[in-house]
């Protein structure tokens, strides 16, 4: 091992360390951005080192360099462009897309490696040791599933593919069949047989599996699915590392595989679902905005814009509770305008952010931050809940389940989900279009609370009206 080797290997190690420390720092808002940059620096070092190695070794011919540079130019361009231009709320589907290509790349490495070995060995049995064939197959299977799975997930979030669960004809049967095929083929290769056609059977089966796995899952559960597939890609990359005998791939891959798994669990917990239950499709995807009469036992009080405006303008403390409806209506700027107006009048305004308000974790923060709402005004649930008691008005904008007191009782679809204690506020104003239900598809007792006034309107429109009305005071 000459000194160049050593230097490059050390560079890879430094890169890997960068990833770990970067992730650590991304655990808290204060250091998160710096953590991401750190991780990026690690990546740069690792890739730079590789380039130096290839150049110095000179085993990369002109064509090879053209391939590499062209590939980098193309991929880099696409990545940069899409990442720069995507709308805040469309980010999850983009992440899913990047995840797909990552998994794809990992699979391609194993495929290419296997084909080469196979041709070199001119198909002698046992010519490919288990040490190689096992990670190769795993890489291809996991990478393949991730590739198509992530594409579907992305498509669902983009709306290219309908978000609602799509039953695959044959359903479970197909899945089981595919799994069986993969298993048999894998064992065949592990027994020492060398066969490219069989490899392609595995590839095809894995790709199909990815599709059938994700199609039946509802759009609302996609964040969790994407996170899971992200963890898969990590594992696939680690396998690629074993195939190539490259430590940095193994480290980074395993790191993402493991942390991704934890993260997936955290996400699922945050919407009190279990990952399993999501993968086999629970109540996910019921975007039920079914217009429904007021919940039995309790009359709904509807409120005029002017009354609402007066309540807000003369309040001491107002807490705004944004929900999915705000996102749908793209009303983030409107709500900020109203908040600013109130603050000018000396009302102090803060936003109560429920961890799973909207349809992806952090959805509300992303939205409101896009409208430049100052971070300090965004308050985590546990942080603000005690303050509802002191709030004169809680203004609920397009939020439903996350405010439903039913969650405190057992036996409802939202039971056990921590909620915002909106009902502790002195008075409550709810802006939504109708008595329609939320994601969980149940009525909200908050709306029949005597303290509650309903302002029926599209969030954006309703807020605009309020701004006008407050100005008019």
């Amino acid at each position: 091992m000459d000194s160049l080797d050593i230097v490059v290997r050390l560079a890879w190690l430094v890169g890997a360390a960068g990833f770990v420390i970067g992730l650590m720092r991304m655990n808290s808002p204060a250091t998160a951005r710096n953590g991401n940059l750190l991780s990026a620096a690690g990546m740069a070092i690792a890739i730079g080192g590789t380039a130096v190695l290839l150049a110095a070794r000179g085993d990369a011919g002109v064509t090879a360099w053209i391939i590499i540079l062209a590939g980098i130019a193309l991929g880099g361009g696409l990545g940069l462009y899409t990442a720069r231009t995507v709308k805040m709320t469309a980010m999850p589907q983009l992440v899913s897309l990047f995840n797909a290509v990552g998994g794809g790349a990992a699979a391609l490495i194993a495929i290419d490696d296997y084909i080469r070995l196979a041709s070199a060995q001119t198909l002698l049995p046992n010519s490919i040791p288990l040490e190689v064939s096992v990670p190769t197959v795993l890489d291809i299977v996991i990478g393949g599933i991730t590739f198509t799975g992530s594409l579907i997930a992305s498509g669902k979030l983009m709306g290219v593919i309908p978000g609602k669960p799509i039953k695959v004809p044959g359903g479970q049967l197909v899945t089981v069949a595919l799994a069986a095929v993969v298993a048999v083929a894998a064992i065949y290769l592990w027994l020492g047989n060398v066969s490219v056609p069989i490899l392609f059977v595995i590839i095809a089966a894995s790709l199909t599996f990815g599709v059938t796995m994700v199609l039946p899952i509802g759009g609302a559960d996609m964040p969790v699915v994407i996170s899971l597939l992200n963890s898969f890609t990590g594992t696939a990359v680690a396998m690629a590392g074993f195939v190539l005998g490259n430590d940095v791939l193994i480290i980074a891959g395993a790191l993402v595989g493991a942390s991704g798994a934890i993260l997936t669990k955290l996400m699922a917990d945050a919407m009190n679902r279990s990952v399993i239950n999501i993968m086999i499709g629970g109540f996910g995807g019921g975007e039920g905005t079914v217009a429904a009469g007021g919940p039995e036992g309790g009359s709904v009080r509807s409120l005029g814009v002017d009354d609402a405006a007066i309540q807000l303008a003369y309040a001491q403390n107002v807490i705004i509770v944004p929900g999915y409806g705000l996102a749908v209506a793209q009303a983030q700027h409107a709500v900020r305008e109203l908040a600013d107006l109130l603050e000018q009048r000396g009302v102090n305004v803060s936003y109560a952010i429920h961890p799973v308000a909207g349809r992806m974790p952090g959805h509300m923060n992303v939205l409101l931050a896009e409208a430049n709402v100052p971070y300090p005004q965004l308050r985590e649930m546990d942080d603000i809940n005690p303050e509802f008691e002191r709030a004169d008005v809680a203004l609920v904008v397009g939020a439903n389940d996350v405010t439903n007191p039913a969650a405190r009782r057992a036996g409802t679809p939202v039971s056990g989900m921590p909620i915002l204690d909106v009902d502790h506020a002195r008075s409550i104003i709810v802006i939504k279009r109708s008595m329609g239900r939320g994601y969980a598809g149940i009525d909200n007792e908050l709306y029949v609370n005597p303290k509650t006034g309903m302002l029926f309107a599209d969030a954006k429109q309703g807020l605009a009206d309020l701004v006008a009305a407050v100005k008019a005071l």
Binding site: A16, L23, M26, N27, P29, A30, A32, R33, G35, A40, M43, I47, R57, D59, A60, I67, G71, I72, G76, G79, L80, T82, A83, V95, L97, F98, V101, A105, L108, D112, E131, P223, T233, G234, V237, A238, G241, L244, G245, D247, L249, I250, A254, V256, G257, A258, S259, A261, L263, L266, M267, P355, P361, G362, A369, Y375, P376, L378, D382, D383
Partner: protein, 106 residues
């Protein structure tokens, strides 16, 4: 089982443990950025793609490795940029006492 494989396995296990340990109680706000950040990291597969590209001689290998490089680079570049955009969100007013508080929670 070769010495090399054993070493690789050791590294593999340690990295997994790091992965488990590194994600502590994260505020839900950071779930999406964290996912995106982890997503960029597996772009490291670019290193592997470059290596196979370097030794690709027949057309098939060349095509495969070209696609691999392009895919991987997209993952790396796009991943980090989009993550950074998400995180820019967390910038806050100059003098923001409550922010510190919020961080405390984070």
């Amino acid at each position: 089982m070769s010495e090399a494989l054993l070493a690789a396995l050791t590294v593999f296990v340690l990295a997994i443990l790091c992965g488990f340990a590194v994600i502590s109680k994260v505020p839900a706000t950071l779930h999406t950025p964290l996912m995106s950040g982890a997503n960029s990291i597996h772009g490291i597969v670019l290193v592997g793609s470059m290596v196979i590209a370097a030794s690709a001689h027949d057309p098939l290998s060349q095509i495969l490795s070209f696609v691999a490089v392009a895919f991987a680079t997209m993952n790396v570049v796009g991943g980090y940029v989009v993550t950074d955009r998400m995180l820019q969100m967390f910038r806050r007013k100059p003098a923001a006492a409550p922010a510190e508080k919020a961080e405390g929670k984070g």
